[in-house]
């Protein structure tokens, strides 16, 4: 039990939102009387996280992932339930608590755009009260790890998105947090940059023992990093368990995009259970059960394609399937 770093019970967050009816009459009427509806962002979630875990929070847009992270970091207060992060109630916003975690939001930057990363780091050194010796040691470590020595003295606004995300991670990790919350850290990044970020996160988790909670839309992030996944949909936790099991059971199909130099019509494919999602002369997209990918690829190669891309099913499809088939499934 001592290993538990985060514990929530029946954690819920509800908002009221104004429902505006169409038309000028209703707008005038709304000056006196308004219709509010309750939006349940997080619906009674029980969660236990142990020290050193690397957990993926999966779910479609509006599922409640970010709201959950905001409650765990104390940015917003829960409506109901209990929450304990490292022995603190996060929304008390105690500085001793805030010194022990870091949060990186993919779409909100904590860097000063007109200045250099070194400038932001100096401010963070003071905010987190890091002794000079530790500060230099940590900085050196992360600069080497991320391979960004040449970028520390250039204006942040001149960095690429991938470089900027590395810098976001450095400034977040400079105080050696026990927990790192990452909200869509690879959003908008290309495949190479995403892969690099994943590698660094893995290293930080393994070497420093940092507990990492990661939300992502990208299956690749979750599969590559997280042994444990939590799937949330409409604020409800619908899966909490091993990532492998989740994908083995619910990610049933792959998506294959094939392009041709010459127009290619009538392809009489023999592979069973293949459905065609897009059918153009130069490009076709298929959905095929995972176990039949090899067979279909062999068949497609006979038509001398220009390129073939094999992709995982989108996260929304998987979540929908868990919801439909599994109800609340625990791996």
């Amino acid at each position: 039990m001592n290993d538990v770093i985060i514990h929530t019970s029946n954690l819920a967050k509800r908002y009221q939102r104004y429902r505006k009816r169409e038309g000028i009459r209703n707008s005038i009427a709304s000056l006196w009387k308004r219709d509010y509806e309750e939006k349940i962002a997080v619906d009674h979630i029980d969660l236990t996280v142990k020290k050193g875990e690397l957990i993926g929070l999966i779910g479609p847009n509006g599922a409640g992932k970010t709201t959950l992270i905001k409650m765990l970091t104390g940015i917003i207060a829960p409506t109901e339930g209990s929450i304990d992060v490292m022995g603190y109630y996060p929304n008390d916003m105690k500085n001793e608590f805030k010194k022990q975690y870091a949060v990186v939001m993919g779409q909100k930057s904590q860097l000063f755009f007109e200045l250099t990363v070194n400038d932001t780091l100096r401010l963070f050194k003071e905010i987190y009260e890091i002794p000079e010796k530790d500060f230099q040691k940590n900085k050196q470590y992360f600069v080497e790890l991320f391979g960004v020595r040449d970028l520390m003295d250039v204006q942040v606004r001149t960095l690429s998105l991938g470089e900027r995300m590395k810098m976001e991670l450095i400034v977040s990790l400079i105080h050696n947090p026990k927990i790192l919350f990452l909200d869509e850290p690879t959003i908008g990044l290309d495949a190479v940059a995403s892969k690099q970020i994943r590698k660094f996160l893995m290293e930080i988790n393994e070497k420093n023992g940092t507990t990492i909670i990661l939300t992502s839309h990208y299956m690749e992030d979750i599969k590559a990093l997280c042994e444990r996944s939590i799937v949330i949909n409409h604020g409800v936790k619908i899966y909490d368990g091993a990532t492998d099991k989740l994908f083995d059971r619910f990610q049933k199909n792959k998506r294959i995009t094939v392009t041709f130099d010459d127009p290619t019509e009538d392809m009489a494919l023999q592979t069973e259970n293949v459905s065609i999602l897009e059918n153009e002369a130069h490009k076709k997209i298929y959905q095929v059960p995972k176990q039949l990918v090899k067979e279909l690829l062999a068949e497609l190669m006979k038509y001398e394609p220009k390129d073939i891309v094999v992709e995982e099913e989108e996260i929304g499809v998987v979540v929908e399937r868990i919801y439909r088939e599994g109800g609340k499934f625990h791996g």
Binding site: T66, G74, M93, K98, A102, K108, F112, E126, I127, E184
Partner: protein, 267 residues
């Protein structure tokens, strides 16, 4: 407490350093406020000149007192612009965009950081010009200054600058409770505009309640002037300090409760 003070001083030093560096990246951004703020100041002076060229006295204040009053209000406003206005003014936008999340998740008071992260060195000349006007007023009035008189005056300028700050924070904290608050800022502008031209002694009845208590812009420059011209009694001093204390408590409550209401814009 001592550690907290030391930390705040260190953070303050870094914020000043970062702000200066950020401003100096774009030379025009750094230099323009010196001209823009200076021009606005002269426009204000012309307006005052036009208003008061045909008025010999307001209440029991003559021309000399009025010049000191105008200089004092300008001084408080200049201190506001130099130190905290451009930081506090970003609160509503940071609430609406959800950028406040990044302030709330750091181990330092978010209000402290917001207050001091956008100091404006371009407004420093306004402080100097305001002091010049006050000096001119004192000469016009043939007022002899004592050391205690000057210290007393500076004390009142300081606490009225704090009151000005508190009013700004309270008004901008409304964005934590309600989505749209542009009208409140307009109300603030209108009150400041009026009280810059009319000293508190000109208000009577319900206007006095409004500008001495509800929206205490009426006392901000009036009390320091009363102190320097030797017309402040103990009751007025106690009242002034009471208002500042009351608004300090109110600011803390409104801000802290506001943070509890903060929903954080969706990512």
């Amino acid at each position: 407490m001592k550690n907290c003070m030391r930390k705040n001083i260190c953070v303050l030093r870094e914020l000043f350093y970062l702000r200066f560096h950020a401003l100096m990246v774009f030379r025009l951004d750094f230099l323009a406020p010196f001209f823009v703020d200076g021009s606005m100041f002269f426009i204000q002076l012309l307006a005052f000149g036009a208003v008061y060229s045909h008025v010999d006295a307001i209440g029991n204040w003559g021309r000399g007192e009025m010049i000191i009053y105008i200089g004092t209000f300008s001084l408080i406003n200049a201190l506001n612009m130099t130190i905290y206005f451009f930081g506090v003014n970003t609160i509503p936008q940071k609430v609406r965009s959800g950028e406040l999340d990044l302030y709330l998740s750091k181990p330092i008071s978010p209000l402290f950081r917001l207050t001091f992260e956008n100091i404006s060195p371009g407004s420093v000349p306004l402080i100097i010009m305001s002091i010049g006007i006050i000096g001119y007023g004192i000469r016009t009035l043939h007022q002899t200054l004592s050391v205690t008189g000057v210290i007393g005056y500076l004390f009142w300028v300081l606490i009225m600058t704090i009151l000005y700050y508190e009013m700004e924070v309270i008004i901008r904290s409304a964005s934590l409770y309600i989505v749209s608050m542009a009208r409140l800022e307009q109300l603030e502008e209108a009150c400041i505009d009026l009280c810059m031209k009319l000293p508190g002694i000109a208000f009577y009845g319900e206007y006095k309640i409004i500008f001495y208590l509800v929206l205490p812009y009426g006392i901000m420059a009036t009390l320091p002037v009363q102190r320097i011209i030797g017309k402040m009694n103990a009751g007025t001093a106690a009242y002034g300090i009471g208002v500042v204390v009351l608004f300090s408590i109110l600011t803390a409550v409104v801000w802290k409760q506001g943070l509890k209401h903060y929903h954080s814009a969706s990512s």
